[in-house]
């Protein structure tokens, strides 16, 4: 397909890899933010094309992974309530809560449905006025405009049976949490291209300046990632720390203004917990009045429910780039995609799941 295939050209990728090797003089550690990028890096073996001085570590950019256990438990309680149609993106169904997952609720007769778009849930609410329809709104800035449009349209159509369980998180506060941690290893970032498609690039200037890290807004195909790494290495070797845009075919500096306007109309910035990381100030979105009438936590009385994260899982360290998946003692043995212990093994975009799927035996042997 156009705008995909040409960015997977193997010869061009090898040439980029040579350019990177020629530029690299010292060891550097670069973090890619987005789970989609992590997936592409491991799937296409991009990390194996890079010189040994470069280490790519994988960031917290998988919204499924960072949704806290507490919110999964709330989703399970709401989905099991009589009369509820619980709608979710497919990858949330296998995410384990404290005791079970959404599949288990569905198996017991709960009406849990996979939707492609939040607008599908609005259509269900219109078609079933006698039922309460709840959409599990998970996602980063990329997904927020779709969720915002859903609740905006439902509100205008006075669909009082439409609710959102909101788990929207924001990327720049998580980057700042990583950079300000005493454990931080990150010297340069590949920022998440589609997040920037919505929000633009202005938020990253202050981060690059304050923490002296280059930030390269990067796309998702192999050549995008290789060019992103090249631009990042060039800045590191030259001692620069600026914001650059590799993904200019989809990202404008100001972002998508109509989308930002609807996000501001519907949401307000709130503190959010990140699974495996903890609470990060001003790192998420919550509904603002009058749209908070559609807040599922309030409607179903689960707002005060709290769950502690299990201590045995090291996914928090993986999400912050402190550890590689294979450095976890449970990787590939007690923790697999079929029986995930934690966030990063759960979602197909999680770093642990990507290593398990594409590195298979090699990763498991390396882990021992």
């Amino acid at each position: 397909m156009k705008f995909i295939d040409e960015y997977r050209d193997a010869e061009a990728a090898r040439r980029y890899a040579r350019l990177i090797a020629n530029r690299t003089r010292r060891p550097w550690t670069i973090m890619e933010i987005c789970g989609g990028q992590t997936h592409a890096i491991v799937k296409f073996g991009i990390d194996e094309l890079l010189p040994p001085e470069l280490t790519l570590i994988h960031g917290p950019g998988c919204p499924v992974c960072v949704t806290p256990l507490e919110l999964i438990d709330k989703a399970l309680a709401i989905a099991a309530a009589p009369g509820v149609i619980f709608c979710s993106f497919g990858d949330m169904l296998r995410v384990p809560g404290s005791r079970e997952d959404l599949f288990a609720v569905k198996a017991r007769g709960g009406d849990v449905r996979v939707v492609y778009s939040p607008m599908d849930a609005v259509a269900l609410a219109a078609a079933h006025p006698d039922r309460e329809v709840v959409f599990f709104a998970v996602g980063f800035e990329t997904t927020a405009p779709a969720t915002a449009m859903a609740v905006y349209q439902a509100h205008r159509a006075t669909l009082q049976n439409f609710f959102l369980l909101v788990s929207h998180v924001l990327v720049p506060p998580a980057m700042e949490a990583i950079l300000s941690s005493p454990m931080n290893r990150v010297q340069g970032f590949l920022a998440a291209g589609h997040v920037c498609t919505i929000m633009g690039t202005a938020e990253y200037g202050p981060l690059a300046a304050r923490y002296r890290v280059p930030i390269v807004v990067t796309g998702f195909e192999p050549l995008d990632i290789l060019q992103g790494v090249y631009l990042c290495v060039r800045q590191l070797e030259e001692g620069r720390a600026e914001v650059e845009n590799q993904y200019a075919r989809a990202v404008r500096r100001a972002g998508n203004r109509p989308a930002q306007a609807l996000i501001r109309e519907v949401f307000t910035v709130v503190d959010r917990k990140w699974r495996g990381v903890g609470s990060i100030p001003a790192s998420g979105l919550g509904l603002r009045p009058p749209y908070d009438a559609h807040d599922a936590e309030r409607r179903f009385g689960v707002a005060d429910r709290h769950t502690e994260e299990p201590a045995e899982c090291e996914s928090g360290l993986v999400l912050q780039g402190v550890k590689k998946p294979t450095e976890c003692p449970a990787f590939g043995t007690r923790c697999t995609p079929e029986r995930p212990m934690g966030a990063t093994m759960v979602s197909s975009e999680g770093a642990c799941a990507a290593y398990y799927r594409y590195r298979g035996v090699a990763a498991k042997v390396e882990a021992r």
Binding site: M1, V64, Y116, S117, T143, M149, H194, N256
Partner: protein
């Protein structure tokens, strides 16, 4: 999760505010897409689609930069390479 797939707008169907919709072709497969967030995009344009919403119009000039860059850097490397 933030997966965005490029496709080409083949038809506009509704033009109401908040419900600007059309059909987008992904390698020949047509899907309904909400186009409210890309008011500047019309039939023939490529857009990046995420969960049923077009979030950006693809800038076709910028799309070749990754290759132009490689070409320029390749020429530069040849100029800088030591003579055989």
């Amino acid at each position: 999760m933030c997966l965005g797939v490029p496709g080409q707008i083949v038809r506009l169907e509704r033009e109401e505010p908040g419900a600007r919709t059309g059909k987008v072709s992904f390698g020949g497969v047509l899907k309904p897409v909400n186009l409210s967030y890309v008011p500047e995009a019309g039939v023939g344009d490529y857009v990046i689609v995420h969960v049923g919403f077009a979030i950006s119009k693809v800038d076709e000039q910028e799309a070749t930069v990754v290759f132009d860059y490689l070409r320029r850097m390749g020429e530069l490397a040849e100029l800088e390479a030591p003579p055989p």
